[in-house]
């Protein structure tokens, strides 16, 4: 099937197998390897991107479902050399170690702040429930999102 998708501000048109997952399209067709795959069951959230402004787990979206849509990945978050406030906050709060969950975690955190610009710690924790991190124990991630909330506003 032929699809046309805007990813990080660039529009791509490609023929894809109908079964192609959005994450596989991003990684292996477009070479956008910033978005990662950590599980097969929509549990880990490593593949989280924004589709038409909402966070989705791109392992659970078919590429064809993104046809005509706009996708933002971790690679499109910084603009004009400036990190997104959530990226900056992750750095400043040591909210990552191995960094594998980080792209998905940042995308989910950014989506959370879009919906709720001033979340409580509990709301942050629940808002990130679908993204697993094995390294940080989440404490610094929560701290980073709290800080980013202040900076985004």
């Amino acid at each position: 099937m032929r699809i046309s998708v805007a990813v990080d501000g660039v529009t791509y048109t490609d023929d894809v197998e109908p079964r192609t997952l959005l994450v596989h399209y991003l990684r292996y067709v477009l070479g956008k390897t910033g978005t990662l795959v950590g599980c097969d069951t929509t549990n880990c959230g490593s593949c989280t991107v924004h589709l038409n402004g909402l966070s989705v787990k791109s392992c659970t979206v078919l590429a064809v479902q993104a046809d005509g849509g706009e996708v933002t990945t971790i690679e499109g978050m910084a603009s004009n050399g400036e990190l997104h406030p959530v990226q900056q906050a992750f750095h400043e709060n040591h909210a990552l170690q191995c960094g594998f969950c980080t792209p998905g975690m940042i995308m989910q955190a950014a989506a959370l702040l879009n919906e709720n610009p001033d979340p409580s710690d509990r709301e942050i924790r629940e808002g990130l429930e679908g993204n697993l991190c094995r390294c940080t124990g989440y404490q610094n991630i929560v701290k980073a999102v709290r800080q980013a909330a202040g900076n985004v506003r």
């Binding site: 191995c98 960094g99 940080t136």
Partner: protein, 813 residues
């Protein structure tokens, strides 16, 4: 350190919470995880895995798979028999150990569900996976061996030729070793006039569950075969691949690019690695394999899985006199790289921070039809810590003493260091009083005890428990001499090089191989202080055998303690090497020079030369002194004489809903003494993550096999890695007694949190429920298990799951 002496405190890098150098690429998606890499023309692998736990392979029909679109080749075990040998076990405990041969692709039999029986090579990952479905394997079922106690007794056997499932029986006895009294005599004595506690605890099977599924890419098209692997141990991988595939070692270059977590789970040499390498070499084409999460959970090694039968003897005054530890350790079907030794890494730690008169440890390593077990964060030491910290709490209950007081009565006091334990190891430093005092204060121990009493009195449905863990661990793997005496195949040294570039910046090449620990940042801090260069001017190179030729990689809280010490020694050599040149350039005597702030100064003057100037002079070598080589680069290896012993006091306030069995952590205080700290921010992060993994063992995680040997927790739907919503904020703090084993005074922190937190949580749950008659709950303490334990205690007619998992006699036959 030379330069630190006269520098103001604030300019030192070591001790600062420097933000990480590693972050920039990781937060922007410019990562080099192995699956991100592409080599032109690469082929992909699909693994055909046995769905059966124990069977003879009677036939494999690959015809249909071979004919499938995009498929290049299909290989079975016999097809690769001439190309690759068995996987390595680097740590059998004795030459008599029964170590089954583990072929990357099974040849005649399968011994766990998930074992690879055939490999499909195809032009795309999808085509490879599709075609795996077309491989037709016939199996002849054999009896499945799963239950640890039954396996120890046998038959049936996993490997029938041996007529046993016991791979080894290993014993340490303090009387025999001359390090303490006789355990039997002490226990007998306590039976007469003291207290004897007998307990059986189960360390459930866990899965390391690193976030990056393992991925391997092999490119054989150059002069060297380049092997990218998401591994913790690129140097081990190179050696063992060379041996198993009869490839000259110098023709293999292993690269561990960005590696997405390990926790011991990537301290392994795996079937998938050997297969990817072998197929690439055989076909002369680049080949990639990336596992799915289910494959990872099913086929990558697991951790823990031990049954601990424990006997503790004490006087009525609460002085522990003897500990007897009798373990069954589930190895799975095959032996991992260091799998057989995991129980031994705990063997010297059951006595923990305490002074016991007598100690005996024995373990039987048992073969079963499950995937093998091997290192998982803490590796042997969490099991030991859990056992002794549970016992100390139980003894306090028995004696009606405060559990911290009981511990203080038995622990090594600050004045007694260095102290040689009943297990024969010398603890260099520590201060258990200081850590405990700080933890009590941060925790409000007395206040919470008062609240606990009040809630008990009014029979509040939410009961409060206080969980205690005063742990220690043996870190900094390791003195090669000791490893040798324990029959380990490798050493424990580490290697580093410091290269002074002509324009004054520095490359530091290290044999350790980080995968999230922030070494690039921490090592830069250390070198910046040592050489007086800017933090930003240091580049840390690692994880590529072509760049870092020598090294023994990252695990066992060793990288800072052993690896960074090698870095310091190499940097010292740079300074030594530069000194005569500086003297030459300054026309001064070496004796008149001092090195400070990156410069050699003529004492008492402002005349000096910077390292950068000397490095540039080396590039030209125009006016170089005769007989001295024109470079400053230096290398050093470091082999520690002793282990290091981090310790700490962790306190957890646990609320248990006695009506539902739900457990909530109300507060958690961790005070750790990990010696000198390079980067407090990174240390805190290590503690947070470690705590969470230890807590996950207490509350959430368990690898579950059904009666057929199928892993039922084979996806993240069923294997409960905790999320942000399941965890809490921790209060962390430190005390500091520097290690003597290394120049930095560091002890290591990678495993501390995991080792300490599991018993803190379970002790807290039990402390909440003891008034209801609950004395044990098996891990993970799920709401169901907690609820059943409460009900079971209320109504003793109802059998409770809280009882020990194995009956004591049958379990240890």
């Amino acid at each position: 350190m030379t330069i630190t002496e006269e520098s103001p405190e604030t300019t030192l890098e070591v001790g600062r919470s420097r933000l990480r150098k590693e972050d920039q690429r990781l937060i922007t998606g410019r990562t080099r995880f192995t699956d991100n890499l592409t080599v032109p023309g690469m082929l992909f692998l699909g693994m055909v895995r046995s769905p059966i736990a124990h069977a003879k392979i009677t036939s494999i029909d690959v015809a249909q798979a071979k004919a499938a679109p995009g498929v290049i080749a299909v290989f079975t075990g016999p097809d690769l028999a001439d190309d690759v040998g068995p996987l390595p076990c680097g740590w059998p405990l004795s030459p008599e150990d029964k170590v089954p041969e583990y072929y990357p692709v099974a040849r005649e039999e399968v011994n766990f569900a998930g074992e690879i029986v055939a490999v499909v090579v195809a032009r795309s990952a999808q085509a490879a996976r599709d075609a795996t479905e077309l491989v037709d394997v016939e199996y002849e079922d054999e009896q499945v061996v799963l239950d640890l106690a039954a396996a120890a007794a046998g038959p049936p056997y996993v490997h029938p030729a041996w007529e046993t499932n016991v791979s080894t029986h290993w014993i340490f006895d303090s009387a025999e070793a001359g390090t303490g009294a006789d355990v039997k005599a002490e226990i007998e004595k306590a039976r007469q006039d003291g207290i004897v506690l007998e307990r059986t605890f189960r360390q459930q099977r866990l899965i390391p569950a690193f976030m990056e599924p393992r991925s391997f890419l092999v490119d054989p098209t150059g002069d060297q075969i380049v092997f990218w692997s998401s591994t913790q141990v690129p140097h081990f991988l190179r050696v063992f691949t060379a041996i198993a595939t009869s490839t000259p070692e110098h023709k293999i270059r292993v690269i561990a690019p960005d590696v997405g977590g390990g926790f011991g789970g990537k301290l392994e040499v795996t079937p998938e690695e050997f297969i990817t390498f072998t197929v690439a070499k055989k076909l002369g084409k680049p080949v990639k394999y990336t596992e799915t999460r289910s494959e990872s959970l099913q086929g990558a090694h697991h951790g823990r899985d031990q049954v601990q039968r424990l006997t503790l003897a004490a006087t009525k005054e609460g002085k522990v006199t003897a500990l007897h530890v009798d373990l069954l350790a589930n190895m799975g079907a095959y032996m991992g790289l260091v799998g057989p030794a995991i129980p031994i890494l705990g063997a010297y730690m059951y006595n923990a921070i305490y002074k016991f008169a007598a100690y005996r440890f024995e373990v039987k390593n048992i073969l079963t039809n499950m995937v093998r077990t091997d290192a998982y964060r803490g590796a042997g030491r969490p099991e030991a810590t859990f056992a002794i910290e549970r016992l100390m709490d139980d003894l306090a209950v028995e004696l009606d003493m405060d559990p911290l007081e009981l511990r203080a009565k038995n622990w090594i006091t600050a004045e007694e260091f260095p102290f040689t334990t009943v297990a024969g190891f010398e603890y260099d430093s520590g201060n258990y009083e200081a850590a405990t005092a700080k933890a009590k204060e941060l925790f409000d121990y007395d206040g919470l005890r008062a609240e606990q009493a009040e809630r008990r009195a009014r029979k509040d449905p939410i009961q409060l428990g206080i969980g205690i863990s005063t742990y220690t661990e043996q870190c900094g793997l390791a003195p090669s001499r000791i490893l040798g005496s324990l029959n380990y195949i490798a050493g424990g040294w580490e290697h580093a090089e410091v290269r002074m570039l002509p324009l004054g910046t520095v490359e530091v090449v290290v044999g350790t191989s980080p995968h999230g620990q922030g070494h690039e940042t921490a090592w830069s801090q250390i070198v910046a202080d040592k050489l007086g260069v800017a933090f930003e001017d240091v580049e840390v190179l690692h994880g590529d055998t072509q760049v870092a030729q020598r090294g023994l990689d990252t695990y066992g809280s060793r990288s800072l303690v052993v690896g960074a010490t090698a870095v310091l020694k190499a940097a010292d050599k740079v300074i030594e090497k530069a000194k005569p040149i500086a003297a030459h350039m300054l026309e001064a005597s070496e004796d008149d020079l001092e090195f400070r702030g990156g410069h050699f100064w003529v004492k008492g003057t402002d005349t000096g030369k910077s390292l950068a100037e000397i490095a540039f002079a080396a590039l030209q070598a125009h006016a170089w002194p005769e007989g001295i080589e024109p470079n400053l680069d230096s290398a050093a290896s470091f082999d520690p004489d002793v282990y290091s012993y981090p310790h700490g006091t962790h306190l957890a306030a646990i609320e248990v809903d006695t009506e539902t069995g739900a457990v909530a952590i109300r507060s958690y205080v961790a005070v750790d003494d990990i010696g000198k700290v390079v980067n407090p921010m990174i240390v805190e992060g290590q503690v947070h993550g470690g705590l969470t993994q230890g807590i996950a063992q207490a509350l959430f995680e368990e690898a579950v096999y059904d009666e057929n040997g199928t892993l039922v927790s084979g996806s993240f739907v069923d294997y409960l890695v905790p999320s942000a919503a399941d965890t809490v904020d921790y209060v962390t703090d430190r005390t500091e007694s520097p290690a003597v084993s290394n120049e930095l005074g560091a002890k290591g922190v990678g495993e501390a949190g995991t080792i300490a937190s599991t018993p803190a949580i379970v002790n807290g749950i039990l402390d909440a429920l003891r008034p209801l008659g609950v004395t044990d709950i098996e891990m993970p303490c799920t709401p169901m298990r907690v609820w059943k334990a409460i009900r079971g205690a209320e109504d003793s007619e109802t059998p409770s799951e809280a009882q020990p998992h194995f009956d004591a006699e049958g379990g240890q036959a």
